[in-house]
């Protein structure tokens, strides 16, 4: 028989750690924003993000996406550590022992509550060794002020580190389609670096995400 008393985690039923009103705390007098674990959060004003994009474009030109991607990787490594530590504390279990469904759902909620848009993990290519990630309402894409090319290198970098850390393997994440280039949503492919080597070339040939995925899984 099931004992209801055994279903609790320290007399709690953990739900959504990232529920907005419990997750975010601010102290106007001290001018700080914190999350529920007391970690400091940073609010980025839109003009700053715009300025980062335009400043990088002016200073580094073509290297912009490389710079953003590297920044994203740094951010992603720290983000992963904090994500796992806080989630692990909340669920009183190591993140590696969490069911995948709950882990991914927490990631989606985490993304949303920080104002990075809506992220969706599509596992339909899981069997072929790839994950697809969709992001909509990304402030980074919206504020890039660029038309006609993929601009979410920062997020691609974050996701690269995040999935490297989870899997312990050499993983890369590449943006395949971008709202800035007319796509409905930003689409990323995640997979082993060596299997994604040809993707940059395919993107240069203006292949669609569907064509690229067909080539990758052929």
């Amino acid at each position: 028989m099931i004992s209801v008393a055994d279903l609790f985690t320290d007399d709690r039923i953990p739900g959504n750690y990232f529920a907005t009103d419990t997750y975010l705390k601010s102290d106007l007098e001290l001018g700080i924003i914190e999350n529920r674990a007391g970690s400091r959060l940073l609010a980025l004003p839109a003009p700053l993000i715009e300025a980062i994009y335009s400043g990088l474009e002016k200073e580094t030109g073509q290297a912009t996406s490389l710079v953003l991607s590297n920044c994203g990787r740094w951010w992603g490594r720290n983000f992963y550590k904090r994500f796992c530590a806080e989630l692990g504390d909340y669920y009183s279990t190591a993140v590696s022992d969490m069911p995948m469904v709950e882990f991914l759902q927490a990631l989606e909620e985490c993304w949303r509550v920080h104002g990075w848009g809506r992220i969706e993990i599509d596992q339909s290519y899981h069997g072929k060794g790839f994950l697809l990630v969709y992001i909509t309402n990304s402030p980074f894409a919206a504020l890039a002020n660029v038309k006609g090319k993929n601009v979410c290198a920062l997020e691609a970098g974050v996701l690269t580190s995040f999935f490297c850390e989870i899997t312990g393997k050499d993983i890369t994440c590449i943006e395949l389609a971008c709202e800035c280039a007319g796509a409905e949503r930003n689409c990323f492919v995640v997979g082993l670096s060596k299997r994604l080597q040809g993707v940059d070339l395919m993107l240069e040939q203006h292949q669609t995400p569907t064509e690229i995925l067909e080539n990758l899984t052929a």
């Binding site: 028989m1 004992s3 709950e102 909620e109």
Partner: protein, 159 residues
């Protein structure tokens, strides 16, 4: 507290409250002793109530793996606690913010609609044996808000 009442407190510098606004406030204050009472009884009854539901659920779905049943029971415990709080504070937004999206995704991801439907019915039946109709009426709104997500119905197209 309900949004209407919370917003009343922001009016201090503008004006004194209108009679109908004071009415809304005293309506909530008057209902508070009952809300507290129902809340306390729910708290005290949580364990026996949910244990009974758990036993009946296992009896109704003997083929179902225990892990699935346990997962759904956890969702039900979360639902009950959230609805109890929403009832106490008369806060409609609370269920939506803390429970609905999360539960809806979990139920879809694990595909436990069938178990949750049976579980929700058993929960309702057992609540009816513990509480009188006027107590249940207080719980009804948050429970209804949570129901469709919990049993895995698609949200209405407008939301």
């Amino acid at each position: 507290m309900s949004k209407t009442i919370t917003e009343l407190f922001n009016e201090a510098e503008n004006r004194y409250l209108q009679p109908e606004e004071l009415q809304a406030l005293s309506g909530y204050v008057d209902s508070l002793p009952v809300r507290l009472d129902v809340y306390k009884r729910l708290r005290d009854q949580e364990a026996p109530l949910m244990q009974k539901v758990a036993d009946q659920l296992q009896g109704s779905l003997p083929q179902e793996p225990v892990s699935n049943i346990e997962r759904s029971l956890k969702q039900a415990l979360l639902l009950l606690r959230t609805c109890a709080m929403a009832m106490l504070l008369d806060d409609e937004a609370l269920v939506e913010e803390k429970l609905v999206t999360w539960t809806r995704k979990m139920v879809q991801a694990y595909g436990t609609q069938q178990i949750n439907r049976v579980l929700y019915r058993l929960l309702q039946e057992n609540l009816q044996t513990l509480f009188v109709a006027s107590d249940l009426a207080l719980l009804e709104r948050p429970m209804t808000q949570a129901e469709s997500a919990f049993i895995g119905e698609q949200p209405p197209a407008s939301s």
